[in-house]
Symmetry: C2
Subunit: 448 residues, 2 copies
């Protein structure tokens, strides 16, 4: 397995054919999400940094050619035109952390046709999945309304790489920590986690477990209080904290039952024990809906741990994204398939105040007061700037989120803004459609 052969076979068969036919002219492909999944008022662009890393390294080696030949049952010599091919094209893309909507390119590649085709699978895989997870995590941030969130998703993600990405994406949108040690270290995220129910059970009593934990781990502790009887667990935690004189950064964690009601009871008990300082953390199957409900009912919860449903983007684990040829050899392209019509030409997204976007052509003049969303990030196969820090992406997200209309921000029944098409894009679409229908000899609609 190499990064080059982790691809759909058809990218290879197509690229080989382009090379044989000497079709090496510049092609522009546009990667965009056709429609937002239900329950999404916006997406958070993500996955660009890993995608650019991969493009930078892209090179078809001898071993790759041999793999291609083997799966095609062809002599290695037949695949020789691919050998040594690397990616030396241009990429314009929406930086990570920016909010985007349906129909807006997340990324456009311009490169010799075979190269631009070969990288399709990797770009879709990296950008779509990561944008899906970042968008889910962003909704949790909205739901938490300022209370800290921690990522506990690693054990449910689709493998270790997906777990690393989930931790990174949660931090990108503002999570306060992650349970994933490797991700904490690699991305500079605070690590969180203390004990599971198994820890409590392994001791003769809950109290013995709490005391042992405090012995091993001097400093602030978080005690898991719901292994047996939650009310008793809270009382035991308060007693141990007081006995050991453990200070103001301590917490208890609730992981089962009606979390709001349990938190209220726990708060009352902790306060009665003189421990107003002890924080309450909750976990267990939470996503933005669960968090929002707890915030709405005013539960005295200080932090939320979310995992499974965020790390897998459970209610929308994929995006309906496409990587479409929009221009080849200076000829704008589009597709007329039923229900999958695309717009031709290299594009730009012009963002106005309040995230009112216009999708236009890459070479048109930005409308007054707008900012172009896609930026040149790769030229001649090289990154135009060093990888952005996670904090930079987070700042972009926070700025866009602050400007996002209320109806797109809400957790229940969000309504996503619909970007407009520029006059020039609309005109080009009509022209290309007419040309294609003339070619096909079956104009099915008036070209206007």
């Amino acid at each position: 397995m190499s990064e080059v052969t982790t691809t759909d076979l058809y990218e290879v068969t197509m690229a080989l054919s382009y090379l044989r036919e000497d079709m090496r002219g510049p092609a522009t492909f546009s990667l965009f999400v056709r429609d937002l999944p239900p329950g999404r008022g916006f997406l958070v662009a993500a996955g660009l940094e890993p995608a650019l890393d991969r493009l930078s390294r892209y090179r078809v080696g001898q071993a790759d050619v041999e793999e291609f030949a083997a799966v095609l049952h062809r002599p290695v010599a037949d695949l020789a035109p691919l050998q040594g091919l690397s990616f030396d094209g241009q990429v314009r893309a929406v930086p990570e952390g920016r909010i985007v909507f349906a129909g807006e390119p997340l990324l456009e590649v311009t490169a010799p046709l075979p190269q631009a085709q070969l990288v399709e699978t990797a770009l879709l895989m990296l950008l779509c999945h990561q944008t899906a997870v970042a968008s889910k995590a962003a909704r949790c941030m909205l739901a938490a309304a300022g209370r800290p969130l921690v990522d506990f998703s690693l054990r449910r993600t689709h493998g270790p790489e997906a777990g690393m990405q989930a931790a990174r994406l949660c931090a990108l949108v503002g999570f306060a920590g992650t349970s994933n040690v490797a991700a904490a270290r690699r991305y500079g995220i605070p690590a969180a986690g203390t004990m599971a129910h198994s820890y409590i059970e392994a001791f003769a009593s809950e109290e013995a477990a709490f005391r042992a934990f405090a012995r091993t781990h001097p400093g602030p502790v978080t005690f898991l209080v719901d292994t047996y009887d939650t009310a008793r667990g809270v009382a035991t935690a308060a007693r141990v904290l007081n006995d050991l004189g453990l200070g103001p950064e301590c917490a208890i964690r609730l992981d089962s039952g009606e979390l709001g009601a349990e938190a209220r009871r726990a708060r009352t008990a902790l306060d009665a024990a003189g421990r107003e300082d002890v924080r309450i953390i909750v976990s267990g199957g939470l996503d933005e809906y669960g968090v929002a409900a707890l915030v709405r009912e005013g539960a005295p919860i200080d932090a939320f741990a979310v995992g499974t449903k965020v790390g897998t983007a459970a209610d929308a684990p994929y995006l309906d994204a496409a990587y479409k040829l929009v221009e080849y050899d200076a000829r704008p392209m589009m597709k007329l398939s039923v229900s999958k019509v695309t717009a031709p030409g290299p594009k730009q997204v012009f963002r106005g105040p309040g995230l009112r976007d216009v999708v236009g052509l890459a070479n048109e003049e930005p409308p007054a007061g707008t900012e172009p969303l896609l930026r040149p990030v790769m030229r001649g196969g090289l990154r135009t700037e060093p990888p952005a820090a996670l904090s930079t992406a987070r700042a972009r997200f926070e700025a866009d989120l602050a400007a996002l209309p209320e109806e797109a921000r809400r957790v229940d029944g969000p309504i996503a803004p619909v970007p407009a098409a520029s006059m020039r894009l609309t005109a080009l679409t009509a022209i290309v459609r007419h040309r294609l229908e003339e070619q096909a000899g079956t104009p099915r609609r008036p070209p206007g």
Copy 2:
């Protein structure tokens, strides 16, 4: 990032505490799925081979200890007890490919408590996600009713590793091929894929594209016919196939529109052109429901390509699985938390005819006519047998599937068998519950 630090932090804080408290007695943890997701009548055990590989390699190195210390803001010396720790325990597990149900252990680990705890995150991550995807793919096999299926999921999976696993799991349940070159090569799966819409568009006409493809790729071809007008695409494909005298393994692919209706029209047109031999392959957002509907309506489709929804297990992208301490130092354990009660003791699943299962204790005599489902797969940290071939796992799946009751097999509204608990497990559960409630001083239910 190492395999060891790709873990939830709490495994580390707990393991360190166990070591400090000299709690190194043998612990048994049981990994099981609490409830099946809606729309599942069974699960297909998967992920064991990669999980055992990981356990075999497990060793906490110096760099790992340094990472742990860094994220805990502790001196490296504090973490020293972990250094050099490897996994030398026993594992009993359900072999890959076997059908399992809710409440049945997929795997049980018996090892010194710190070791058994440290591997929790990795085991859950690898087994749950892979079992979820294999189970979704298995339902597609049922829906296809004997017609071949091909995996096209790579571009939507949650990263390259997840894509590799998806291809493997689809092959495990009987898919005929995958689009993923690296997976095809690694797992010995036939590779599939020819062209995308972009290929057609890059040429001056659909016909020119088909002819060019056939020039580059001698032998059977599959032409994608819906880039512009599907009826014309089919006619063009038939003409090119006939002109070039291309033989009996050729196919067309439909990727949009009403696939059943389009397939019928295409079949009629191909037959009229004398090409009864040309097969029809369909793709585009299919899962078991889409495939079953097309089979039900009798659409003349020869093969289905499924991707997105299978590779992400889209309607159930995670499983509600747990890794629970069931015995420590010869003392059976269980949890009493509200709605998360678990059963104590190391277990075995006794499978009778028709997949009538009884969950019992590992050390009880198998009921007559039953087969134990969990097998010893690791002893002293070493695998008891070499990794099973994918074909072996597929044969297990096919045998179990053949015995699965009809109501669990159906695509719409399946009903999963509910395993029974053995008398001895029921008795032990009552005893342990009573002991725990006595300890807590709050018996909440009669112990019977």
